[in-house]
């Protein structure tokens, strides 16, 4: 029974990681109706920037703030330079651009920063709690994730800017007629997603350590979490992230063994999606002909 509880706790801890990245995916989806496959690599790149700042002597929270700001600018710049010209192109061409970005960020990071595994500091130091099954960092990063969740939720729910952004993604033409500057909204959406990704990266790195391939596994589970909870709903995506963490741990430990835990988790998602095609918390959008 003790071990079962420990598996659940450790699942929650990993789930927090997935949830934080899933939030960035929700952000970009809400703002652009695209899923950016390069989101994980961009977050990894931001984390390397943060590490460079910290190694240059900038205190942690200073580096944190600078990185978030830089990532926001970088994200917005990518949207303006690379995606604005693609506005009239087929959706699949944009996906091609995302895949290109993924390769570029991964390759450049390896070239600039090397492939050797690097430790990344956490601001939440201290001995682990609950018998070693939960670290201070787990608690701290979960708190950060929940804070970001609150921010994203509030932003889309209660601010005019958030509403405008959702409108711009949902129906660009009508939004433009309403006086919403769609181009700016898209750029801002990309920027915010990159900023949230950077926060996620800095919370993930102390746990899995920093290297150019840090995000490849995490992004996958984040996708799974976002799918399960519903990619149009930040609350759902965070719930989905935590759920995936717990499901894969329990499945790996007690059901199918670690070899197939990911496969089982994915099968569960497909099953859930078959019943609820927009995820547990997502709203099915009914489009009129």
């Amino acid at each position: 029974m003790d071990e079962f509880l420990h598996q659940v706790l450790s699942g929650v801890a990993s789930g927090g990681i997935y949830a934080s990245v899933a939030l960035a995916l929700v952000m970009i989806f809400q703002a652009t109706h695209h899923v950016n496959f390069a989101q994980g690599e961009m977050a990894m790149f931001s984390t390397f920037i943060a590490l460079a700042l910290i190694e240059a002597g900038v205190p942690y929270w200073g580096a944190f703030a600078i990185t978030v700001l830089l990532s926001l600018i970088l994200g917005a710049a990518i949207q303006r330079v690379l995606l604005t010209p693609m506005a009239g192109s087929p959706v699949l061409a944009s996906v091609g651009v995302f895949i290109g970005l993924l390769l570029i960020f991964n390759s450049i990071a390896g070239w600039l920063f090397g492939y050797t595994l690097k430790p990344f500091p956490t601001p939440f130091e201290g001995p682990p709690v609950l018998g070693g099954f939960v670290t201070r960092h787990d608690l701290g990063s979960t708190a950060v994730t929940l804070a970001v969740l609150g921010g994203v939720y509030g932003f889309f729910r209660f601010t005019n800017l958030g509403l405008a952004m959702r409108a711009a993604a949902y129906n660009p033409v009508s939004s433009r007629l309403m006086g919403i500057r769609v181009g700016r909204m898209l750029a801002l959406g990309w920027g915010l997603a990159a900023a949230i990704g950077a926060i996620a990266g800095m919370m993930v790195a102390p746990v899995v350590f920093l290297d150019p391939n840090m995000m490849s596994g995490v992004l996958l589970y984040a996708f799974a979490g976002a799918l399960l909870g519903g990619i149009s709903n930040p609350l759902g995506a965070v719930f989905g992230g935590f759920a995936i963490g717990v499901i894969e741990n329990l499945a790996g430990a007690y059901l199918v063994g670690p070899e197939l835990k990911l496969t089982l988790a994915l099968a569960i998602i497909v099953a859930v999606l078959t019943v609820r095609p927009a995820g547990l918390f997502g709203r099915t959008v009914v489009s009129r002909v």
């Binding site: 010209p85 091609g96 290109g100 570029i104 799918l227 496969t263 999606l273 995820g279």
Partner: protein, 319 residues
Amino acid sequence: MRVLRFLAGLLFVAAAAGLAFAVSDYRLFQLTTVAVYAVAILGLALVTGFNGQISLGHGAFYAVGAYVTAILMAHYGVPYWATLPASAAICAALGFLIGLPALRLGGLYLALTTFALAVATPQLLKYHAFEGWTGGVQGLVLDKPDPPPGLPLPLNADQWLYLCTLGVSAVLFLLAANLVRGRIGLAMRAVRDHPLAAEATGIDVALLKTRTFAVSAMVTGVAGSMGAVAVGFVAPDSFTVMLSITLFVGLVVGGVASVAGPVFGGAFIAFLPNIAEDISKAAPGAVYGVVLIAFMFLLPSGVAGGLGRLLRRAARRPA
């Protein structure tokens, strides 16, 4: 116009066959790879390009096709040609089954679910319960089929394999061209562009979608079979999620809703990595990414789309 297209295709295949006697064995191997990738992308084009169901997991069907052939050849001594129908049938069935839940999932969700399938593939391939068949992480090594005795032309194994691959590919391309230009192809595109209207005209959308998925999986599976023999080796590491992404890249570069597009896409994904590493050993991935993005900028509807536009413009201009 249709006859013209057919003739152009015939000419292309004849020229490609002629290459078997003009270039080195190594180049033939590369061209075999291009043909294999082209067929794999053709399968993807059927479901994603013509039917609008985005799949990021076609590497899974490619892997199944490859393993069916490898297992039949390595464990049961089945000749190469006889494994192709088997792998086609198994992949079609698998595609049909996977097409069922896909019916419920729209656009992005389908894309990510198929992506998940691609991720799970290598893990299933090395699962210990199947190890007796699949060879587990070590994979299976295959013999290259020898040309049958008594051919009018003396061929070496590479030439023979190239011509076989080319022949099968040409047949599959012809069938696909017929399919998409016919009644069913019209229905496929109608479902892609206007599902409700398509349904109103009496198309059984669900059946059409699952059948398209099955045909698509079958074509890509046959490509996997041919690829396994060309390489002479299958292992889980050959079928990672990168394979699915690569096929997808080939699709968008070649042109999504085009039968000729996959040929360009196949050449792109076969040759670009070599060019990228020639430019930079330090960061070949970055070069690959930059070239890919440049293609998307210049030819957002793919090489085939761009060429088509050019041809139409030329045709409109009086000579």
